[in-house]
Amino acid sequence: MPTVRLRKASEYSAAAQKLFELSKSWFNFDFTEPPAMSRVMAWDPHFGGPHGRAMKRAMAPGEFTRGEKEMVAAVVSGVNACNY
């Protein structure tokens, strides 16, 4: 169980709503509620904004495709034993 109460998207500010739209677009998936991590990052857009932009830069196609990078992300998450 999360150590914080994850707020519903409707509880967030207009600035945070923009982050949710970007998240929806990034995953190309119509979530009922934004993913927990998106709602965590939206708690402080001054952190979540640049962190999210850095992630998108890191995940953008380059020498490796987005799919290949998603796989790198998955194995890093796996060896970090991250359940999320």
């Binding site: 169980m1 993913p35 927990a36 890191a58 799919g67 790198v72 890093v76």
Partner: protein, 173 residues
């Protein structure tokens, strides 16, 4: 990148990478402490070990045998089986060898493996990955080393399983 085959292959790369790294790193550390356990000269070895070493040198296109294999050469049958698994895991298949070495590099960086980081970085370069590509892998590794710790700290529960559909296909024959 559709289907489960890519994930099975990635998992096998992660597993054998970690297996090779933990032993190579531990014995390197032991050697630094003055304890010689195994893994010296890779040219003066029994014939069965020599045959496996020849395969390893050919696979990696290098003159020496990586420490991860030298240190287990005292048991030739075990060496041959570990090598067989490693060769299969890192060979071109559904995933390319280039990507597999990159995954192994990310695993090695994440687990702070000195052996694995140096070895797989060299393999990435040998297989044509440029400095830009290496930074790309480091960037993903770094960002997801952040996300995972944020998620763990807040004990977030998985909620993105619906993004990818389940693969209904059977295991390979």
């Amino acid at each position: 990148m559709d289907g489960d085959a890519v994930w099975y292959e990635a998992a096998f790369v992660v597993g054998i990478t970690n297996a090779l790294n933990v032993v190579a790193d531990a014995l390197t550390d032991a050697r630094d402490l003055g304890v010689e356990i195994a893994g010296g000269d890779d040219t003066q070895v029994p014939a069965d070990v020599s045959a496996t070493f020849a395969e390893i040198r050919a696979f990696y296109a290098r003159a020496d045998v990586p420490a991860a294999f030298r240190v287990i050469a005292g048991e030739p049958g075990y060496l041959a089986d570990v090598w067989g698994a490693a060769r299969r895991a890192f060979s071109d298949n559904t995933l390319s060898r280039r990507l597999k070495e990159s995954l192994a590099f990310a695993v090695s960086v994440t687990t702070r493996s000195k052996f694995g980081t140096a070895f797989h970085l060299a393999e990435m370069r040998r297989l044509g990955v440029t400095d830009r590509g290496i930074v790309e892998v480091l960037g993903v590794t770094q960002m997801f080393s952040s996300y995972t710790k944020i998620a763990d700290t807040l004990q977030l529960e998985p909620d993105m399983g619906d993004i990818a559909p389940a693969d209904p296909s059977a295991p390979p024959a």
